[in-house]
């Protein structure tokens, strides 16, 4: 095989869906890890379930679309859509059975040991409990149920996407013994589980569908219930908007949202003990194939475990809640603008608080010297203080331009509301760009100061969402570097539809420049390696699946470049394969916080370059999105960011290392110091605050200082 062919041969790539499933396995392994507090494990299991839901709705759905459309182009690993579906089918069935064995064999007994019983079947209730449950049913549940029976006069009802339902076979009491189909939706407005007053300090909960099942007879009074089982379906939710045709993006998305309820059914989850006759009806009515049916031994839709996490009284079984720390550079009486003028400010969430970013926009909205605020919004939290501040700024006569990305998946409804509200407040709202998603995270504040106009910029790797900022690890920089300010202005001009600038100072934008720049930098490392100079790439991202980039990495590896990748999710690259990627290592860190930052390090022949970005190395990020990569140039910040990479490379508790055969394994801990990067960053952030406070203390103090409770602000 010729050398170049090795790099691009599909054999040397992993299918992205299978790689994603590997990732979900890694999350699941956290749920199985006994060293983790029990309730945290519930949370991880819940995450695997919601992940899988999204995976089906989007990825599997689009593969199905391809099959329907007779599209048979092989993917990066040479698999046609049909082949992919087949392999995904196998692997997901395995994953699901592992999920449920984790649930029933490991988590349930452990919970019971800790005094929390989850009743699997309503049949297990004793009389007293049964009475309590029935009362609850009558009072709370019955009024909101809509039982539906199917017969010759009533057609098969619409079953909504992702809803939990109970299907039953019923028989008319005075009829001819023919079986009819009946169903009732488990109402989403009620809590999924109900706590039953227990005895001897034991706590018991029962799932809502069990309560309904127990009382189902009362819903169909003229019928006898032959059998009843909960089921849940998933529909194709990926929709394509024809933007050129769609006159008004806003209206179009609203329309599509309605349609989502009607998509093709792509998955049925049902109790494994289901009656064959009932299943047959569902299969026929929902047009399902055998492969799309998942027989579940346990409760459907494990995402309720996330709610279970919130149960009061089990704090000892949870990770103590981490309070994001203050940012040392901002621990003074100066306002945010003054602090930025002192030097670039580095933010590392969630170890450091997201407040400075909110504060930055809030201050700007009120500051009389601020002329303009411009920002891109991708996923905004409900009740976002940032949106409120932007609206206030427009009210205060500032020029406010906001690019609201309407196409952020599953957030469309949310985004439309914000967009409308901002427009009403007088902001200039841009509803995304035709054909491109705006994924970059950038804020620009233009301020007229004593010595002229000054621009303040915040650049980040994560969304402007104050709630996810507590869960996602992201980096950001605040700066008033004129070169970056100039670029930021140009970014917003481009987003407003004006021509590209004559040139860029610092920022690198996708889709026009980023791909070329990355490839160039990877190839440059290769050239350094060939010239016998130090050559080293460290890159941290969420997903790596761009063929061109991977091929370049393979090539660089073969030339002797040391490549260390920290890829949380999908990785289509094969690591450590002799003759291909011996010098590449890949690790994935799955921890309490969702790893989300993108950091790229290039040795560059001894003059290291460090970048952060909003983009993963995926074709969609590089070609179909507006993304920004920005350099880290301040020496102190560079050190901090490099430190993040180094600690993550040393992590041996939450890291899984990709093996040449494509599996992920946790590193061998024997004889090594345990390193958990996320924990370490938490501690370091706390230490930094303490150090800063100590610095501010006068040196020769003559008073005693009582210690304060930790984590208090």
């Amino acid at each position: 095989m010729a050398a170049e062919e090795i790099y691009t041969n599909p054999k040397n790539y992993v299918n992205r869906e299978l790689s994603w499933l590997e990732f979900n396995y890694r999350v699941l392994s956290e749920a199985r890890d006994k060293s983790i507090p029990l309730f945290e494990r519930l949370k991880f299991l819940s995450i695997t379930a919601s992940n899988l839901d999204e995976f089906f709705m989007v990825r599997v759905a689009s593969l199905k679309d391809m099959v329907h459309a007779k599209y048979s182009k092989p993917d990066i690993a040479g698999l046609k859509p049909e082949q992919q579906l087949e392999k995904i089918g196998e692997k997901t069935h395995d994953l699901v059975s592992l999920q449920y064995s984790t649930y029933s064999r490991s988590l349930l007994p452990a919970l019971k040991q800790q005094g929390l019983v989850i009743m699997m079947n309503h049949e297990e209730l004793n009389d007293q409990e049964g009475e309590y449950v029935d009362r609850y049913f009558q009072r709370e549940v019955y009024p909101v149920l809509t039982p539906m029976a199917v017969d010759s006069s009533r057609p098969f009802p619409l079953i909504r996407n992702k809803t939990l339902n109970i299907a039953a076979l019923v028989q008319k009491k005075d009829g001819d013994g023919e079986l009819d189909f009946a169903m009732v939706q488990v109402p989403g407005v009620l809590p999924r589980f109900v706590e039953i007053p227990g005895e001897n300090g034991e706590r018991k909960v029962i799932l809502l569908e069990e309560i309904i099942e127990r009382n189902i007879q009362s819903l169909f009074l003229n019928y006898d219930i032959v059998t009843a089982h909960p089921f849940r379906i998933m529909r194709n939710a990926d929709f394509n908007i024809d933007e050129e045709e769609a006159e008004d993006l806003l209206v179009e998305i609203q329309k599509q949202l309605k349609k989502r309820q009607w998509g093709e059914v792509i998955r049925l989850e049902i109790d494994e003990k289901v009656d064959k006759r009932l299943l047959k009806i569902l299969k026929r009515e929902l047009k399902l194939e055998n492969n799309d049916i998942f027989f579940i031994n346990g409760p459907l839709d494990l995402t309720f475990l996330m709610k279970m996490y919130g149960l009061k009284g089990f704090d000892s079984l949870k990770e103590p809640k981490y309070e994001p720390q203050r940012v040392p550079a901002l621990m003074n009486d100066d306002d945010i603008f003054t602090n930025i003028r002192k030097g670039d400010i580095f933010l590392h969430h969630p170890y450091m608080t997201f407040d400075p970013v909110v504060d930055f926009i809030q201050k700007a909205s009120k500051d009389p010297d601020v002329l303009a605020i411009k920002q891109t919004l991708y996923r905004v939290s409900g009740n976002s203080p940032i949106v409120a501040a932007l609206a206030a700024a427009a009210d205060n006569g500032k020029q406010v331009s906001v690019l609201v990305e309407l196409k952020a998946r599953f957030d469309e409804e949310n985004n439309i509301n914000w967009a409308k509200m901002l427009e009403k407040a007088g902001c200039h709202v841009i509803y995304g760009l035709v054909g491109l998603k705006t994924h970059s995270k950038i804020t620009l504040v233009v301020r007229r100061e004593e010595d002229g106009i000054r621009r303040y910029v915040h650049l980040g790797t994560g969304n402007y969402n104050d709630s996810t900022a507590k869960l996602y690890t992201d980096c950001g920089i605040m700066t008033c570097n004129p070169a970056i300010g100039e670029d930021a202005t140009a970014v917003f001009n481009m987003l407003s539809g004006y021509s590209e600038p004559l040139g860029w100072n610092k920022l690198v934008l996708a889709p026009l420049w980023l791909r070329g720049r990355l490839l160039k930098m990877i190839r440059r490392e290769k050239e350094y390696a060939e010239a016998g100079k130090p050559a080293h790439i460290i890159a941290k991202m969420n997903s790596l699946c761009d063929k061109e980039v991977i091929a370049a990495l393979y090539e660089a590896s073969c030339a002797g470049v040391k490549i260390e990748l920290i890829v949380r999710g999908i990785c289509c690259l094969k690591a450590g394969v002799p003759g291909l990627s011996e010098n590449i290592s890949v690790r994935s860190i799955v921890g309490t916080f969702l790893e989300h930052s993108r950091i790229f390090y290039f040795e560059s022949g001894g003059r290291p370059e460090l970048y952060m970005a909003s983009a993963d190395w995926m074709p969609r990020n590089l070609d179909k999105r507006v993304e920004i990569m920005f350099p880290v140039e301040d020496e102190k910040i560079k050190e901090q960011v490099l430190h993040i990479l180094q600690v993550q490379l040393e992590d041996n508790r939450k890291a899984h290392v990709l093996q040449p055969d494509g599996s992920y394994e946790k590193p061998d801990l024997r004889g090594k110091m345990k390193v958990c990067s996320q924990e370490q960053f938490c501690q370091e952030a706390e230490a930094a605050v303490r150090a800063e406070l100590a610095k501010q203390e006068p040196e020769n103090r003559r008073t005693f200082i009582p210690a304060e409770a930790q984590n208090s602000k």
Binding site: L371, A372, Q399, V446, R448, E449, E450, D451, G452, I453, T489, A490, N493, S496, G497, Y498, S499, E500, P501, L502, G503, W504, W513, G516, K520
Partner: protein
């Protein structure tokens, strides 16, 4: 803040541009924002002679946004200039009116010479050293897509300026015909094509003047300067460095050029022709150093505004350039220079003395001065009807820094210097023309003999009379006779009667 925010809008042939500038006294002008919107007005104008309704629609929308952005920056002043596409469109008046009605923007159409003049201001605004540089022979070459403007400065003033039909677009068109030729043959052919235009120019205007410095400006130069010398953008480089740069471009493929310069393909294909053109000019002139300051019209507008608001002080005297250009023109047409110098003295003397009666400003004084310089250039063609000839020469020559309107004022002033004044035929500015004609005629009569007899005469207004008193002791009959002839017209215009007095010393 002590300074001002200025918004400049350029309505060009290919683009609408908005520049936001911060101008603070004692600091270099700083460009804060630069927004461009591609709209090929030129295509409309050059093809149909008119700007289509669709483009007007788009233009108004974008200009409206520009105005909003300028307001967002709280700009103290917003100015919009339009260049050739708009200038040459037959329906420009109605288009401008539409823009005014819909955006509130009053757009001014500027002439080629005004446009170039602004470019010099931009250069001067960019580098404080400009004044020092042009002590030595320096050519600024403004390279456009269709043509280029070469201007020569020497000893601190403009010597001449010429427009050559040599642009990058044309050169690229030519190069594309030569794809198959070998590299040596191609560079030889480029040389021939460029020399074809450049050598006659050299012969006529450059003669044996040695050019030490070259300054390149123009749209493509902005892109070219980016790749010029790493890290030394906007600096002076040596001719040799530029030659090496040009050769390195020659060896780069199209896609490499796109990467290196970060430009779109259509621009990338223009990089090499631009560099070749510059290189040939470099070789022809033998200049030692080169500067590509990367300025555009917007920069010039900002510099002009800065000068007006007295926030920017140029060491270079730009009015001086305009005069110098006129003077060089007079020389070329072999005018009698001592006569012109005397006339300048008299005419400006009368102008200054009459300030309260004519109500004109510095700009009009400049026009008068130019008219004086050019008043007899037509004699070069024919002595009979020389006024008509002068008129035609002036109308056919670009005078740097003058708008078309101003040039026609000058030409008319010269024409009516010898021809009976006719209010109806003197054009839109007939009042201004009349006022200046009256002064020029009177001044001209004062040197009827071309012997500068009245040099140093005192010119004052006293008791409703313009008194010109000379201490010349010889015979002034000729002047006096001529003076008497011009009296009536002068009085007709100003209501003031000039009086010529000869002071004689008592022996």
């Amino acid at each position: 803040m002590a300074g001002k925010i200025f918004a400049a809008i350029d309505i060009g042939s290919f683009e609408l541009e908005l520049g936001i500038y911060e101008i603070i006294s004692g600091k270099p002008i700083r460009k804060i924002d630069h927004i461009r919107h591609a709209i090929p007005l030129g295509v409309d104008t050059y093809r149909t002679g008119k700007i289509s309704y669709r483009r007007v629609e788009e233009m108004c929308r974008v200009l409206g946004e520009f105005v909003r952005i300028a307001e967002g920056y709280r700009a103290d002043c917003c100015r919009a200039y339009a260049t050739s596409a708009m200038r040459e469109a037959k329906n420009n008046r109605i288009v401008l009116d539409q823009i005014r009605v819909r955006t509130g923007l009053k757009v001014k159409i500027i002439s080629n010479s005004e446009q170039r003049f602004l470019t010099y201001k931009a250069i001067a605004g960019k580098d404080a050293g400009f004044n020092r540089i042009i002590q030595k022979p320096t050519a600024t070459v403004d390279i456009g897509f269709g043509g280029m403007q070469i201007s020569l400065f020497d000893k601190d003033s403009l010597v001449f300026t010429q427009n050559l039909p040599l642009g990058v677009m044309r050169l690229r068109g030519f190069l594309s015909l030569l794809q198959t030729e070998s590299r040596e043959a191609r560079s030889e052919l480029i040389k021939e094509v460029v020399d074809n235009e450049l050598l006659p120019f050299r012969k006529m205007y450059l003669k044996d003047r040695e050019i030490k410095n070259l300054i390149f400006t123009g749209g493509m130069m902005l892109y070219l300067s980016k790749g010029l010398v790493q890290g030394a953008q906007g600096e002076w480089i040596t001719g040799k460095e530029f030659q090496e740069f040009q050769q390195s471009l020659e060896n780069m493929g199209q896609s490499r050029l796109e990467d290196e310069f970060g430009v779109r393909p259509e621009y990338a294909s223009l990089l090499f022709p631009s560099a070749s053109l510059c290189n040939r000019i470099l070789e022809t002139t033998g200049a030692e150093t080169i500067w590509i300051p990367g300025v555009c019209l917007l920069d010039g507008m900002a510099a002009e505004y800065g000068e007006e608001t007295k926030l920017v002080k140029f060491k270079h005297d730009f009015s001086g350039d305009i005069i110098a250009a006129a003077r060089n023109m007079a020389k070329r047409y072999k005018c009698h220079m001592p006569h012109i110098q005397a006339l300048e003295e008299y005419a400006l003397g009368i102008f200054d003395a009459m300030k309260r009666y004519h109500g004109l400003g510095r700009r009009e004084r400049l026009l008068l001065q130019i008219a004086v310089n050019l008043h007899s250039c037509g004699k070069f063609i024919s002595v009979r009807d020389s006024n008509e000839r002068s008129y035609n020469i002036i109308m056919a020559t670009e005078i740097i820094g003058l708008s078309h309107e101003e040039r026609s004022v000058v030409a008319n002033v010269v024409r009516y210097n010898q021809q009976a004044f006719c209010y109806e035929e003197a054009g839109e500015n007939s009042m201004l023309v009349a006022k200046l004609v009256a002064i020029l005629r009177l001044a001209n009569s004062m040197d009827r003999s071309h012997k500068q007899k009245l040099a140093g005469a005192k010119i004052t207004v006293r008791d409703g009379e313009l008194v010109i008193s000379s201490s010349y002791e010889g015979d002034m009959t000729l002047e006096r006779a001529a003076f008497e002839q011009k009296l009536d017209f002068f009085e007709e215009i100003y209501g003031i009667r000039p009086v010529l007095k000869q002071k004689r010393r008592i022996r």
